[in-house]
Amino acid sequence: MEPLQIADKLKERFPEEVLDVREFRGQVSVSVKKGRILEICRFLHDAPDLYLDYLVDLCGADYRGKKENRFEVVYHLYSIRHRHALRLKAEVPERDARIDSVMPVWVGVNWHERECYDMFGIVFAGHPDLRRVLLPEDWEGYPLRKDYPLKGPEKEWSGFIDVLERSKEYKQFDWYQ
């Protein structure tokens, strides 16, 4: 099925939810409201003529100062049976950075959602194990947000300070005693 047809089907089924449909270089992105994302995903996965069974990727994006809703959660979906693809984008405002987890539909989204939480601070409601995945658990801030400095935070991470202090201790130790 052509991606624009999938977008039409989605519009037909959820007329209130679909905000925008855009095409660029043959790829179609559909922006939706975040409220019923789990239902939308279940529909896309279960409808026999869509059957988007393979979640290629989930990632976040930060449009600080560019869009009304600061964050976006981007789902790349693909159907191996029907060979068609769709990009779904859920808009998430900054003051309520929460969205439903789609783990009941695609279990493989587990770590992608954890990473998105890790990097953008978007909370996935209903995720069974929402911890940071790439950064240490006591890390402060969300690195992929646009207001996070490229150099990293001013204050060193506490774990790194520990390492530096321990190395000082080792330097004082007399190994040849």
Binding site: Y54, V56, A61, H76, G108, V133, L134, L135
Partner: protein
């Protein structure tokens, strides 16, 4: 005496595997809860190699972010480069000359052979066979020597460039590669005699880490790990890029989805990669290796040294970057580990507004608990080997 009469008590034991353990293929840490030899719970911890590739990419021009992709999967950097440049070219909307496409396909398959051969060597070494490891490293050395001849680097090559490849290939390179291609099937036979029907190998891999086709798709597995379960999803066939639609090759698939099937699939892929390289050498068309798109590709170096206009042009492209159409694009390519995807959001400037790397190893590492829980601790090692992860790519 009282102690002896007490009934024998057992309790669950929590052990830490990694991050510095030779069988974890890098810096993967697993916390295993064991009941005797059975794994009750397996929790992977990743992120020890996190370098913030996405954040770095968003602060560099499209050209300057190319070497970052070398450092994702450092065993097959050629394939990552091909994936990166394909995504950027699609975003820019430039067409690559035919010769460059064939060269890219050829070097990408060389990268696939070198990566799969490392996988084969380390996977069987983990399970206890030393000889294939030594044999496979000797073959990998030949490929790395060829890479050195091609572009001067052995590991972080950065040879494919936006719009084509860095330099044309020499006849000497082609001759040596052809020699390798003719030899390689007999080397494959050596590996297969040592491993495929080996009883110990079969006992350690048959019916270990089984995952059904439907479940594998639901987990988002790709590459050999998915095809071992019997799904023929291969990006090279589904979304042909470069010259993959002009060469003939088969996609090997497994049946059961256990470690042994995944092994057979990757062995089949090695032979297919060799077949593709052979076709590329034989059908290599003549012509330029860089696209004629002055707005998006760097001018030739000898012109830059002679000519003021080209110098200014190069300066602008390097410092500001090209003017890119606004939009967003996701392009996936088949790297040895699975599907490597790049998602770019362009805001019209020379730097990507958002660069996202979809790495197969990240997904594959997350499936480890599913494969390992309920099995034996020795099978955890077999499972780590069979999903073929590289932590540089997983952690980005």
């Amino acid at each position: 005496m009282e102690d002896i009469e007490k009934p024998f008590e057992t309790k669950e034991l929590t052990i830490n595997l990694g991050p510095q353990h030779p069988a974890t293929h890098g810096v993967l840490r697993l916390v295993l809860q064991l009941n005797g030899e059975n794994v009750v719970k397996c929790t992977p911890y990743v992120g020890y190699l996190h370098r913030g590739v996405e954040k770095l990419g968003e602060n560099r021009t499209y050209f300057a972010a190319l070497p970052l992709s070398d450092r994702l999967d450092y065993i097959s950097s050629m394939n990552n480069n091909v994936g990166y440049v394909n995504a950027v070219e699609r975003l820019f909307g430039i067409e690559v000359p035919e010769r460059a496409k064939y060269i890219r396909t050829m070097v990408a398959e060389m990268g696939r052979i070198s990566s799969h051969i490392v996988w084969l060597g380390t996977h069987v070494l983990d399970i206890g066979a030393t000889t294939p490891f030594l044999l496979s490293m000797a073959q990998r050395e030949r490929i790395l020597d060829l890479f050195e001849m091609l572009c001067g680097a052995r590991l972080t090559v950065s040879y494919p460039r936006v719009g084509g490849v860095r330099n044309d290939i020499s006849q000497e390179f082609l001759d040596q590669l052809y020699e390798f291609v003719l030899d390689f099937p007999s080397n494959m036979d050596d590996f297969e005699t040592l491993v495929t029907e080996n009883r110990i190998w079969k006992e350690r891999t048959v019916d270990i880490g089984v995952i059904s086709a439907e479940e594998a798709v639901n987990w988002g597995l790709t590459g050999g790990t998915l095809r071992g379960s019997g799904v023929d999803y291969d990006v090279r066939k589904y979304f042909p890029y470069d010259a993959y639609d002009k060469v003939e090759f088969d996609v090997p698939v497994g049946k059961k989805g256990d470690c042994y099937d995944r092994y057979l699939v990757r062995m089949g892929e090695l032979r297919q990669a060799n077949r593709i390289i052979k076709q590329c050498i034989e059908n290599l068309p003549a012509g330029p290796v860089m696209a004629d798109a002055p707005k998006f590709t760097l001018p030739p170096k000898d012109m830059v040294l002679k000519d003021m206009e080209h110098l200014i042009h190069q300066f602008i492209l390097i410092t500001k970057g090209p003017t890119v159409p606004e939009g967003e694009i996701y392009v996936g390519t088949e790297v040895p580990k699975g599907e490597l995807g790049f998602y770019f959001v362009s805001d019209g400037t020379g730097k990507p507004y958002r660069m996202r790397v979809r790495s197969p190893s990240f997904v594959h590492a997350s499936v480890l608990p599913r494969l390992s829980e309920g099995g034996l601790i020795a099978d955890v090692i077999a499972n780590i080997g069979t999903i073929d992860i590289v932590l540089g790519e997983c952690d980005r």
